[in-house]
């Protein structure tokens, strides 16, 4: 394992940016581990939540923005609800995800593609179109639907529509995305 120069490698601007975007004070974390203890996804994480908080305190930007955990957090709010210091940990995970996106990292590519597919669908139709999302996901990942086995279960139920539900205000939705992207650029 590498020796970390905790002084030189600590990115203060990064800490400040996370604090500003999340509205949370990172120093309030005293590393009790309650977030890790309650997080249902710990088994799937490469870095447990409490260590995400620790690395954040240490300003380890790259480590954090390239980790898988921030993509596997489902925002189930266990950590936020139980944090003894009232830190909104889930919001910090969200903010790290935003930063990772902006810097072009996505260590769980499939997750990102799925979410993007969802948003594409919303932007296009105003509402999410389940079958369309799946199609985009399959196209982008190049993987055939790994859930193929579920097809026979769900299709006969007649629940998956084959056509999207367009709304009248579809353009308004598209404009939300447009304006958002403009602001991101500026």
């Amino acid at each position: 394992m590498d020796v970390i120069d905790i002084h030189a490698s600590c990115d203060g601007d990064f800490i400040a940016a996370v604090e500003a975007e999340s509205g949370q004070q990172i120093a309030e974390c005293y590393q009790c581990g309650n977030c890790t203890a309650g997080c249902p996804f710990t088994f799937a994480f490469d870095i447990p939540v409490s260590q995400v908080m620790r690395l954040l305190q240490a300003g380890q930007k790259k480590r954090l923005l390239t980790c898988k955990s921030i993509w596997l957090c489902a925002t189930c709010e266990s950590c936020t609800t139980r944090c003894p210091n009232n830190i909104d940990v889930a919001r910090i995970m969200d903010v790290l995800r935003h930063m990772a996106r902006r810097e072009g990292y996505a260590s769980e590519r499939g997750v990102k593609i799925f979410w993007d597919a969802f948003l594409d669908s919303v932007e296009k139709h105003g509402r999410s179109f389940e079958l369309g999302i799946l199609t985009t996901y399959i196209a982008k990942t190049g993987r055939f639907w790994p859930d193929m086995g579920l097809g026979p279960k769900i299709l006969p139920k007649g629940k998956l529509g084959f056509r999207p539900h367009e709304i009248q205000g579809q353009k308004q939705i598209a404009r939300i995305f447009d304006k958002f992207r403009q602001e991101q650029r500026s």
Binding site: P40, F41, F43, A44, L72, A74, T75, C76, E77, S78, T80, T81, D88, A90, D94, R97, H98, R101, E108, G110, V111, I113, F114, W115, D116, F118, L119, V122, G126, R127, S128, E130, L134, Y137, P146, D147, G149, L150, K153, I154, K157, G158, K159, L160, G161, H165, I167, Q168, G169, Q172, I173, R175, I176, F177, K179, F180, E183, Q184
Partner: protein
């Protein structure tokens, strides 16, 4: 009683059609007036807030603005994910700067501070289990043992959701008890089922949902009952995946709580939509009948779908 602005959520048009139809029917039967939000759009769900909080709140807030025309006392939705996004938007928009940023993205800015609630909250607070029980003196679901599962975000974080206990919610329990059903002391009521990772990481979903199914089974539940479309799908549609992840076998029907209410209220089968469930609900009703027989109770009369 006043009108509620109703937000069905996208899945209500697709994978959770039966949740939507049963919710509408139950509300009507209990005297709640729902008015659909005109031309509602997607709340942004999980994907939006993983991109940006302003974007996420703007997608949700468009519906708040759309609802303003309805003169409703509250905006209600059956789906916890939509609920979270809508409530979080309202919560964060109390900050003036954030509100301005959100309104900038919208063609029509949000003006009113409309309360946002879940259908569950309205059924419990505005109708109430007592009223429900009084309409059902024959305890139609007596003998049915249910594991109530709320999902992780129906009541969390408590500062935003402002409903029920964040660790041990009881709203759905109380409704089910009012129908005559039994509820097992299900300890994982708010533990995450794997959420939206079903497609990209079904291994995660399988394991987490598996744990819930296993616990419900070990407690002797005949069925699980839930309030969340995503949870229902993970537990029901993906039950085999969960079983193989844990190396166990499950035959656990997973109902929406509104379906069971509709059954008890003897609403028409087409709105209950029991046929939309993957794991056959008849397993649960059979177990219920057996338990009633053992207790020497008469069977209530139901529509043929249940029978």
């Amino acid at each position: 009683m006043s009108t509620y602005a109703y937000y069905p959520g996208c899945s209500g048009l697709g994978t959770s059609r039966e949740y939507d139809t049963s919710t509408r029917a139950v509300c009507r039967a209990l005297g709640l007036t729902l008015a659909d939000i005109p031309d509602w759009s997607c709340c942004g769900s999980t994907p939006a807030h993983t991109v940006d909080h302003t974007l996420s709140s703007a997608l949700a807030a468009r519906n708040l603005a759309q609802a303003e025309d309805l003169d409703a006392s509250a905006l209600i939705t059956p789906c916890p994910s939509c609920l979270t996004n809508l409530k979080m938007a309202v919560h964060r928009m109390r900050d003036r700067d954030f509100r301005d940023r959100v309104n900038k993205l919208l063609d029509r800015p949000v003006r009113r501070d409309l309360p946002v609630k879940s259908v569950l909250q309205v059924l419990v607070e505005d109708v109430g289990p007592e009223e429900l029980a009084s309409r059902l003196p024959d305890k139609p679901l007596a003998g049915l043992k249910l594991a109530p599962y709320y999902g992780c975000i129906m009541n969390r974080p408590p500062e935003v959701m402002q409903f029920d206990d964040p660790e041990h919610p009881t709203a759905m329990d109380r409704l089910m008890l009012a129908l005559g059903a039994d509820v097992v002391p299900f300890p994982l009521k708010v533990e995450c089922c794997g959420a939206s990772f079903g497609v990209p990481r079904k291994d995660i979903t399988a394991r987490l949902s598996g744990k819930l199914l296993e616990t419900a089974m070990d407690l002797g539940a005949h069925a699980m009952v839930t309030a969340c479309p995503l949870c229902q799908m993970n537990l029901d549609l993906r039950q085999d995946q969960a079983a193989s992840a844990l190396g166990r076998k499950f035959q656990m029907p997973v109902f929406y709580y509104t379906q069971l209410m509709a059954v008890a209220l003897r609403l028409p089968q087409n709105v209950i939509g029991l046929n939309k469930l993957c794991v056959s609900p008849h397993i649960a009703f059979a177990a219920m009948r057996k338990a009633r027989a053992e207790a020497g109770r008469r069977d209530p009369s139901f529509s043929e779908e249940v029978a």
